[in-house]
Symmetry: C2
Subunit: 476 residues, 2 copies
């Protein structure tokens, strides 16, 4: 029954440009939802990569993200064991919604492999049933080889108003592919209730399979300006910065609205796998194991008598008593308390923080870096205390500060220090001083992680007081 | 109308032995409720002292507390400005409820001033109306001079089941003192409701006024064993440790149950002041100003749409959305989330922590010391990072550690360091190293607070690795 598809033409395209605020305070601008481990044993992005690995080889997995996020995404994915350095990152000049992101990936892919089939999937959804998912994907690839645009619908289990819907035609029942009648925006509650009973409405999962040639020809028809911009990029490296500007000025439009609603060749597969788009904290209920009282308690949580509640903590203690349908999320610098039915409003908190010029929506107290990470332990008038962790074999950039000096104490591991013309080693329980304006570099010279306590002292102790001279990671 | 009382016989006795767990995580074993600033501009104990200062001179204010807590209480009260060093601390060998504590104070007081009148008050209640309170106290003192045992009742405003009640006789209406018919334990809800409508039931405030001679003679009649134990203490300093043991073995009984219920001379004044015993987080509602949505939001709280809720935070951000009748309390190492109607169960969380051998119920992350305070910023394998704040003119003990060395960086102020035979000064942005087993001392040599970042390094970094050689505060 199955025609064989040439596996060398099969590519996974993972969309990882999102900047979700709805999982604040666990998500931050510098650490969006796809980089969080909120469900399962790994982050959502890495789970997405693992899910598709084996179905296609690693060098057929492409990740599309924005220039701003590309470096973080690369280091994040490369921390996968076994390491998958071959994964290609496609960089958008700026995030312009899914039509542009998919168009960009299709253009690059088509250039590399004109007969390619793209399996497009979000990086931040939960799909606990890998085997069922890959089985359905197999069917979709068959459909794509017939030049169909194949989407995945999820059979609704409740009158959900937070998803878009796909309506299928009622007739064709003999094939796993169902002809799509239309796409529908998020409905109101009575409409969603009606959808639930009728049996021809499905949740739009945002997973698509098609040939790169097919989607490009559809984009050409329905989004000619996007198509023209993509064509310009193709091959004109010299004009690239100019092209970036034009890309960034594209009208943001989703592939559903911009192309699929207008196309005549759209089919849907009813997905047999469990799925959640994890649109809010409350969505964890759909895909996470619960305790007998229907709670999800994670980390250092002590609870008495709560029910149907979600408590996410880390090292700090979170004690809860008698909660009903509540969400409590604790991070080192911020705590959120919200009823499940209000979790969509978390973004309003993020907006308030933005307006107030605060930092809690931007970064975590622990900031990941290619060489390791740092945690701000305390900031006071004229000083800042950090714990710095450097991975074995890694080093920070050669740098200089004009308004602060630094005291370093090694509390674990071994360091090689460069300070102006000196280079010297520091063992555990040894310290050194980096004077104002001294060029310096910190390197892990051992085989274990290096832990340093850094005390900065000066009239200005912000991150932007830094002059870089040499960096292993080519950061600006 | 008023007889003059000899003011030299008037003493305030503040009961400060409590170890309340119901305000966890703000209260800890080392920081009980009376030492918290949960209402008003100062801690409850210091508010209690200020309330009575002026009514009696400072050296007529006695505080009764346990040996365990006495040092902390002394430093806590002495931080009052203007300093009130004269306040006397009466130390119980162990907390044995109010009959013993009041008996002990009465015995000491009677020895010093046989005609003395004691005004006994808890250290952890809220009384926002000082003038009204002092006016009522004046009346009570008149009654005490007639050898009455005078109590204060509060007219109920709701069917409260968390308080004891005083029932008065209906007849006498011509005097502000009302004859007490009986004392009643905490009632059930229907009973409390009946009390509310009848008009002769009052909340028992735990505030009492009487002569020391009178209460001792009542104790002699109704609690002969307590009386005998108190008499033994009186004058037999040599047998003191033996006496301490006997005191600690006394049956704990309240003054209400042990003496007042049995006595024929008990009168009550209906207090005209606002009052709360602050029995739980929910009790804050009675004595705290609220915002238009009936919330009490303190510290770094960002809220959207909450009502009737209490949010206590400090520096860390607490974000809340759409809460109803909830309490959220955030401290550097622990967060509590509980509906108001369950706040009585906070003690169960403390019990769980005790059973689990944890620390979050014992101490705060910032620990107050006579010389200032320290905060543990981070504890890791083989190291600990602290911020140490030393008050001007103060110094830590001369000490030695056998399993850790210490790195100190001055981030603010100026330090005088003793290290073995050396004594040297350290300015801001200077550091020093205290090797394992070196005798050392840290002193604030300037006029501003001294802030030090300390990095401890060693195989064991707990507080009990310390050998003290000299201490300004005579601590063991």
């Amino acid at each position: 029954m199955q025609r064989r598809i040439d596996p060398t033409t099969l590519f996974a395209v993972i969309l990882a440009g999102g900047s979700g605020t709805r999982f604040w305070p666990l998500s931050r601008e510098s650490c969006p939802k796809q980089m969080l481990q909120i469900v399962g044993e790994d982050t959502l992005l890495r789970q997405t990569v693992r899910r598709i690995q084996g179905f296609v080889p690693s060098d057929h997995i492409w990740i599309v993200t924005t220039a701003e996020r590309a470096e973080d995404i690369r280091f994040h994915v490369n921390a996968l064991e076994p390491r998958v350095e071959e994964i290609k990152i496609i960089t958008e000049p700026a995030g312009r919604n899914t039509a542009a992101a998919i168009g960009l990936a299709a253009t690059c892919l088509h250039r590399q492999c004109p007969g390619s089939v793209m399996m497009i999937m979000p990086s931040d959804h939960a799909i606990p049933d890998r085997e069922k998912f890959l089985g359905d994907l197999e069917l979709a690839v068959q459909g794509a080889s017939d030049d169909f645009l194949v989407t995945f619908g999820i059979r609704p289990t409740r009158p959900e108003t937070g998803y878009g819907y796909i309506k299928i035609r009622q007739s064709e029942k003999s094939t796993p592919l169902r002809k799509v009648a239309r796409f529908l925006e998020k409905p109101d509650f009575p409409t969603a209730k009606a959808f639930l009973s009728e049996g021809i409405y499905f949740w739009n999962s945002g997973i698509f399979v098609w040939k790169s040639s097919k989607i490009l020809s559809e984009i050409k028809s329905h989004l000619p300006r996007l198509y023209a911009t993509l064509q310009e990029m193709d091959g004109t490296e010299t004009g690239r910065s100019d092209w970036s500007k034009r890309y960034a000025e594209l009208e943001p439009v989703s592939i559903d609205r911009g192309v699929l609603e207008a196309s005549q060749d759209v089919w849907m597969i009813p997905g047999r796998f469990r799925w959640s788009d994890l649109g809010s904290w409350a969505a964890l209920d759909e895909v996470t194991e619960k305790d007998p009282a229907n709670n999800i308690l994670r980390g250092n949580a002590v609870d008495i008598d709560s029910r149907n509640s979600i408590v996410f903590s880390d090292k700090r203690l979170v004690a809860t008593i008698g909660l009903r349908d509540m969400v409590v999320v604790d991070t080192p610098d911020a705590t959120l308390v919200v009823p499940k039915e209000r979790t969509q409003d978390v973004r309003k908190i993020v907006d308030l923080l933005k307006q107030a010029g605060r930092e809690e929506h931007l970064i975590h107290q622990t900031v990941e870096r290619p060489w390791g990470n740092y945690t701000v332990l305390q900031k006071g008038e004229g000083y800042k205390v950090k714990r710095i962790v450097v991975r074995p074999g890694s080093r920070l950039s050669l740098q200089r500060h004009s308004r602060r000096s630094e005291h370093w104490v090694v509390v674990s591991g071994a360091a090689r220090i460069t300070r102006e013309d000196e280079v010297y080693l520091l063992q555990r329980n040894e310290s050194t001083f980096i004077p104002l304006k001294a060029k310096h570099r910190l390197e892990n010279s051992g085989k274990e992680p290096l832990h340093i306590i850094e005390v900065q002292s000066g009239d200005y102790v912000e991150e932007d007081d830094i002059e870089c001279f040499d960096d292993d990671y080519k950061r600006v």
